[in-house]
Structures are given as structure tokens and as C-alpha cells.
Assembly symmetry: C2
Homo-oligomer: 289 residues x 2
């Protein structure tokens, strides 16, 4: 019986100024997903994870891999049974795209298992639908990032339209922090001042130029700015702005909050990585996280 | 006596979604500026133009070339006299950067005349200061576009910081329309909805990617979107949105308003240029412009 383990990368969405629009995939952090055909009807789902921080629903209707798998099987009218095994390494509820990784991993794997003719766009669409359960709406940023790698700009959700860019090698420090069960989306402001909007457009443009040109400092400065997600998500991270300011003083190039929070991602030069890791550890041991 | 005529290109600022931030220079539309040392003290300014539409103040304090020249001479404590001759081709008051072209042209020419050690940034800064008289604040987009050519992103005004990109060859139709003396800046909204902001960021990012990749269709779609300047400036162009919609149906790739208005710039494929010119002429002859 065919069974290949698939590694699905973590992603950081927003990437500073690109709320709901930008995502990048992370190189050394991923979940594993294995999907096999089963004689038994229906889908059975098993999730393993390194520690108690990782409790994840295994009911098909509550798990993004389960939902995506079921929708895909229905779409192609496939009646066979499936066994889905997920090995989590990406901390759930931390804004690193683990639910998206599970959803797109399942779709990608089932497509292969049944040789389904599905475009990347269609795969992203199906996986996005499964994301409704976590984000309240079908967001494509994380799933597109996981599937395509590199940097993704979601131009439109319906119909799905995106641009993918290669990303230069960027040293990143990701601090996996689980947010409370409280979703922070309602904290996001609905209205913005012209002056802030101009800065957000500038930062987003800068980020894209930095990525295409491989300019680390430009990327860093660009990801530092966000008026949409960061102010809302920072409320759940003790001492976030103090830590950010300290990290920038210690030559971090850019600091912001990953996706829906509360993980912090930091871009730096390779030679500064260790000191930055140390500072972050020290900060969170002080504030008791 | 040294005297070289300098051609200073017209520019279109905003370029769709980049209000006060983006500008591109135009290839086949420019003013000429000639600056000579004079035995007579002070600055004398002469402006010639093709027709009565072009009345421009020749008082030093009211003309951007005059202001920039005076400031620059003061800065370097040069007491000599100057004769400035400007031959306008760019329609003033039409949003095509003619005041910026005059200002930066003067600065560039005087720098050469006196071998002043001025960086591009410093030249842009001095010329921007002269722009206060037209825009009410020192805006650098047009002057930077005129000086540097290609596409310019103004990252910051004080201190001045910008990025310049090469621009692929893009067929453009510019319809020079003079706006009334009324400035439209006060019509620009001060607050924006989150959903519109996201679209503006998307369009700006798309534009930058389109320019770097030389993707004409991406550029066109990107410049079509603007929630800041276009709604305000469209109020002064009779039938603007009808014309825009008609042009897009006739395969124009993108249509928007240039700078502070009221000129319209249209991006198209070369083979559609003639039909687009015909449609615009027909529209404005109907509405009586």
C-alpha cells in the first residue's frame, strides 16, 4: 500500500505590512502528514505531537486536514476510506500556519494518491475552505505559502489569484508562543488614518522590492511596520514592544508578530542570531512564559 | 559663456495606488531649461510656452525654478547673477509634474554650472522645498521621478529616503487636462476602511512586482486601483468613470488620474494605442473639453 510521509512547512502570514495578503514559508519547521487508502469506509484521523501544548481535535469536522480531505473526496465522489496520520511539530494556536499546513498537506497527498487533476489554485481553494474553522473565513495566505514555498501575495480570494516570489536566504528567529484561545481578529481596527495607510503601502512595496532584490536590510525595515495586525496581536504578548525595541537595538533587522499571533518572528544577520535568541529567552523567562 | 539646454521629463505621480509615494517619468514629454551666469545681480526668469493655456508666474518667489535656484544659491553663498530660460511643453496644472521638473531642472543645472558637490538626495530635497508653493507641502515624488527617471518609491520625506527601479517600456496615453485653480487635496479622505486598505496594499505590491518583472498586464491591473487620490480628483473630470470603464472594455490595461489631476494616464498594448486615443478625444469633445 502506497504510503509516503509528506513534510509541510510552517508559514508566517502578514509578514509585517501584508495583513491577510502576504505569507512566507519557513525552512526548518514543518509537520509531517501521511495518508493511506483504507478498506474501512470513512476517514480516520490520528495526530501525534511532542507535548501537551499540542492538543488538536481529531474529529474530522473539527480538523482542517479532515475537513479538506472530506471535501476533496466528496468533490471527486470517491467512496474509499482514508487513514490520515499527522505528526505535528508546528505549535498550534501560535500563528505559524499549522492548520493551513494540515489542510494543504491533506489535499496535496490525496491528489497524488488518486491522481486527481487539480491545479495549485484549486488545491489552495479547497484547503482555504477548511481554514474557515480556524479563522472564521477562507484565508489562503498560509495554505498558499505552505504549498508554493517562498513568498506569496494573495491578490484575490474569489476567484483565487496570487503571485509567488522566490525568497532569498534570510536568517529568522521564530519564537513559538501559543496565544490564548481568544481570537484576536475582532481586536483589529476597522478604520485607518491616511498617514498610516501611506506608511503601510510604503512598507509593503519595500518588502516586495527587498525580496526580489535579495536585500536583507530592506526586508527587515519593511517587516517592522504594521498598523493592522501588530497593534491587536501585541496585546496578548507580555512586554512585546519593549522586547521589539530591545531586539532592534541589538541589530535585529526586523521584528513582528506571525499571522494571528502570538509567535514572534525576527529577521537578523547570521552573526547576530545567537544573541537575539538569548535576549528573547531572557525576556520570556522574566515575564513568565 | 556656458549654456546647455537641459530636457527635464514630465512625471506622473501616485501611479494608481501609490499616493504621494510613487512616481514614474514619461519619455516623450519634457520641459527645456537653460541656465546661464549673468553679469547682472539676482536671478531673472523667462518662460516661453506654446499657447495661452500655459500662463506661469515669472516672479522668482512664485516659480518653483526660481525658488529652488534662489535657495541653492543662498545655500552655497553664491552672489553671482543667473538667467533662467524655461521652455514649457508640459501643461501646467495638469498633474504631470511640470513644477517639479522646473525645480529639479534648475537645481541640476546650477550644480553643474558651479560644480557643486550635491548628492541626488540633496538635489531632490532642495527641489522638493520649492514644491511647497504648488502642493502646500514639500513633496518629493515628482522631482525624484524627473531627476532619476524610471520608477521611484519615496520611502521617507524627512530625512529623504527613496528607492528607484528601472521601468520596462510601457505604451502610455497621456491626456493633458488642466484642472481648475481649485486644489483637490482637501477632497482626499482622511480615513479608510480596512477592506480598502488591503486592496490598496495589494495593488501597490502588484505594481512593484509588475515593474520589476516587466509584466505589462500586472502593471495595468495595479494602476487601476486607488482609493485615495482617484475618487477626489475624478470629481473634476466630466464623465471620468464612464470613460475609464469604456477604455478598459476597449482593452486598455489600466487607467487612472495623474498626480494631483486632472490628466488621465492610460496604459495599453501598442496595437490598441490608436483606438484608445480616438476614444478619449471623442469623449472629451462630447463633454466639451
Amino acid at each position: 500500500m502506497e504510503s509516503i510521509k509528506l513534510r509541510v512547512p510552517a508559514t508566517t502570514a502578514n509578514v509585517g505590512p501584508g495583513f491577510d495578503i502576504f505569507a512566507v514559508s519557513l525552512k526548518n519547521l514543518f509537520d509531517e502528514i501521511e495518508i493511506k487508502k483504507s478498506q474501512k469506509e470513512g476517514i480516520s484521523l490520528h495526530v501525534s505531537y511532542p507535548d501537551d501544548n499540542y492538543a488538536i481535535p481529531v474529529e474530522i469536522e473539527k480538523n482542517t486536514a479532515g475537513i479538506a480531505a472530506k471535501n476533496l473526496m466528496n468533490l471527486f465522489d470517491i467512496k474509499n476510506g482514508l487513514i490520515i496520520n499527522i505528526k505535528k511539530d508546528i505549535l498550534p494556536g501560535s500563528g505559524l500556519g499549522t492548520s493551513g499546513a494540515s489542510a494543504i498537506g491533506a489535499v496535496y497527498r490525496i491528489r497524488k494518491l488518486y491522481s486527481l487533476g487539480l491545479s495549485a489554485s484549486k488545491m489552495i481553494e479547497i484547503a482555504s475552505q477548511a481554514e474557515v474553522i480556524t479563522g472564521g473565513s477562507p484565508h489562503a495566505d498560509n495554505v498558499a505559502g505552505s504549498l508554493l514555498g517562498g513568498f506569496v501575495l494573495i491578490k484575490n480570494h474569489n476567484p483565487l489569484d496570487f503571485i509567488r516570489l522566490d525568497v532569498p536566504s534570510v536568517p529568522v528567529v521564530i519564537t513559538g508562543i501559543k496565544k490564548s484561545t481568544q481570537t484576536t481578529r475582532p481586536l483589529i481596527a476597522k478604520n485607518y488614518r491616511l498617514e498610516d495607510l501611506k506608511k503601510q503601502i510604503t512598507a509593503a512595496s519595500q518588502l516586495v522590492i527587498g525580496i526580489i532584490k535579495g536585500d536583507l536590510e530592506l526586508i527587515g525595515k519593511a517587516i517592522n511596520w504594521d498598523i493592522i495586525s501588530e497593534p491587536a496581536r501585541a496585546t496578548l504578548i507580555p512586554g512585546y514592544y519593549t522586547l521589539k525595541s530591545d531586539l532592534l537595538k541589538a541589530n535585529a533587522l526586523g521584528v513582528n508578530i506571525s499571522g494571528g499571533g502570538s509567535s514572534i518572528f525576527t529577521i537578523c544577520k547570521e552573526e547576530n542570531r545567537q544573541i537575539i535568541i538569548k535576549m528573547i529567552k531572557s525576556h520570556f523567562s522574566k515575564v513568565g512564559i
